[in-house]
Amino acid sequence: MSAPSLPQARFALELKDLRKSFGKTEIIRGISLAVPKGERVGIIGPNGAGKSTLFNLISGRFEPSSGEVLLDGQRLNGKKPFEINRLGLSRSFQVTNIFPKLSVFENLRCGVLWSLGYKYTFFRFLADLKDANERTDELMEMVRLDKKRDILAMNLTYAEQRALEIGITIAGGAGVILLDEPTAGMSKSETGRFIKLIKDVTVGKTLLTVEHDMGVVFGLADKIAVVVYGELLAYDTPEAVRANAQVQEAYLGSAVAELQSEGH
């Protein structure tokens, strides 16, 4: 929440020659990327290109083998996920990752508590934390789950769980949001609505989202980053990326092939 009043870095998120190997296999092979504040970046690439690994490196789930991750100019290497989160970066997961036995309200409130400074408090009642509860109510409306307030998260529909996941991700008010395939597993009509929701709740934030659905990503993003085999193939506006011959060959070609193979 409280942005450091240090000299403002130009970029919200910066990757410098980022690499990650698992054993002998290099999954991320030198990615450099600078995302200005408030930009929405769609990350696309064929299956196994390293998109999720990239997110895991940025959010501290994995440690990079070499290279740097900078958040508002601050180095993130070696920091734990919770430390990175406190610096203002929050992420969602490809596989729904919520608190199944807590209610919708409790789920969202868990996302809110740290950012409002409640930390490990055990001498104040949750019910008395007016700011946290108001913020949670607000969030619940934003992700359109206000009618499901007291339902346990495990009893929600899949689409609702995805919405809850987004809600938890934005709850702490982080400036940089990473969404890993937020619309994975949704129907076409659900996806449309969901993209609008994502747009609404991330106004003014820097957004990186991994997407499989090309239509979705071109509608959502200001810039597209194309990752192929652990390398950044292109980072440009949607129009330019669409026109890029290399991208067409490497990604769109394989996407077409994928579509064809699925058709059989």
Binding site: F82, F99, L113, Y120
Partner: protein
């Protein structure tokens, strides 16, 4: 209207429930007023604190500890030493504060051991607690100066200057001290579940990974909760020391830890009040049930097995499920089923019990001859008739029970469907 009520359905009468609880603690020794039953009641209070503190780990934090007796037990030891120091005049505190010294000791050791234990969750956590439990138990035999060796450490609670005529000589005075501690500890532990840390502890139980990504250090959450649980465990131990005036090494042993786990589970780890039920059952089992039959541990094991298989939420979840039925007005439709289930289960139990008692009789009291009394019947442990009869009763019971159970399952699922419909209908209004 305050819109921030918690999500538990029963909350309107919270003040009422707490007042009733206090009233119950105050009145119950007048209803059961023999000195024997007052000792039992004190033990229940002690067990309630212990099981609730254990459930802070198991039910609320998802931490399966096999070594909770370390904290109750070391609390008990420190408390008995504190009591002896009061007696020899080196510790200027009132006897009423002795359980607190136990609590501080429990907390101290939880700070010490918990730092290692809570670094990991899941199986690793369970294994470390098991190892630490064994370690402390082994220590208790190696350091007789502190643990008192085989005989343990004894003390005398009638010591120091009496306060308002309270000497803690009569058990009733110890009971009321226990009752006050029990009330305060239960209230404090309940309050804990309503705080940011308490809620984040639930979140860590559900999904530790996600917690890391909302800014919390899961290790720190587990550690802090562990220390708080250690404090209440120590208080329970300290009360135990005052109550029995002797502490022996078994209080830190694995068997005691196992008992906490078993009865917390039996009472129901998913609801706050579950362990209270578990603790009451625990004392009843140990004090009364063990008098009734030598095979009581076997029966206990069977009950545990049965609960794990059919009602993993414990007694508390059974109560809550039926309360839900009652709220939607379906309980009346089931009482015949319940009666049938209960009666047939009783028949099974009588048959099985007769056989178990005969085996125990043959193994343990063979010198008394082969005849034994089972309720009003005389059985012959070496006679074909007794065995045949018992087996017949049990098998008949089993058959009838199965018939009732199938009918019950049908009724139950139909009622659940009806409740779902009813909920949808009310939502639509």
């Amino acid at each position: 209207m305050n819109s921030y009520y918690e999500f538990k359905p029963i909350n309107v009468g919270r003040w009422l429930i707490w007042s009733l609880f206090a009233l119950l603690l105050g009145v119950v020794p007048w209803l059961f007023n023999s000195s024997f039953s007052i000792t039992i009641l004190s033990q229940m209070g002690i067990a309630i604190i212990a099981c609730l503190s254990y459930n802070m780990l198991l039910g609320q934090g998802g931490m399966l500890s096999f070594g909770h007796a370390v904290y109750t037990g070391l609390g008990a030891y420190l408390a008995i030493h504190a009591l002896n120091s009061i007696t020899d005049g080196s510790l200027p505190i009132p006897v009423s504060a002795v359980p607190l010294t136990g609590g501080l000791a429990g907390m101290f050791f939880a700070i010490l051991f918990g730092y290692v234990t809570t670094r990991k969750a899941g199986t690793t956590f369970a294994m470390i607690t098991l190892g630490l439990g064994e370690l402390v138990f082994a220590m208790s035999l190696m350091i007789p100066e502190f643990f008192g060796g085989e005989g343990g450490v004894s003390g005398n609670r009638v010591t120091g200057a009496p306060f308002l005529g309270i000497t803690y000589g009569p058990p009733i005075q110890v009971y009321y001290l226990t009752a006050v501690y029990t009330f305060l500890a239960v209230a404090a532990m309940f309050a804990f579940t309503r705080t940011p840390l308490g809620r984040m502890l639930n979140a860590v139980r559900d999904n530790p990974e996600r917690v890391e990504f909302v800014g919390y250090n899961t290790q720190r959450i587990r550690y802090t909760a562990f220390v708080i649980a250690g404090f209440f465990a120590g208080i329970s131990g300290g009360l135990g020391a005052l109550n029995f005036e002797i502490v022996t090494a078994e209080v830190v042993g694995a068997a005691r830890s196992g008992v906490y786990l078993l009865f917390t589970f039996l009472g129901g780890a998913t609801f706050f009040f579950g362990p209270i039920i578990g603790a009451v059952l625990m004392v009843l089992a140990f004090v009364l049930f063990s008098e009734l039959t030598k095979a009581w541990l076997l029966y206990l094991g069977l009950i545990f097995l049965f609960m794990v298989m059919y009602a993993p939420g414990g007694v508390a979840s059974l109560i809550m499920m039926n309360l839900r039925l009652a709220m939607y007005g379906f309980l009346r439709r089931l009482w015949v089923s319940y009666l049938a289930l209960g009666l047939t289960a009783l028949v099974v139990l009588v048959g099985a019990g007769a056989m178990i008692e005969m085996v125990y009789h043959l193994q343990l009291s063979a010198s008394l001859g082969s005849e034994l009394k089972f309720f009003w019947v005389t059985l012959n442990a070496k006679g074909l008739n007794s065995w045949f009869g018992s087996a017949f009763v049990m098998l008949t019971g089993l058959g009838l029970f199965e018939v009732c159970r199938r009918q019950f399952v049908l009724d139950w699922s139909e009622i659940q469907e009806n409740i779902e419909k009813e909920i949808k209908r009310r939502e639509a209004l």
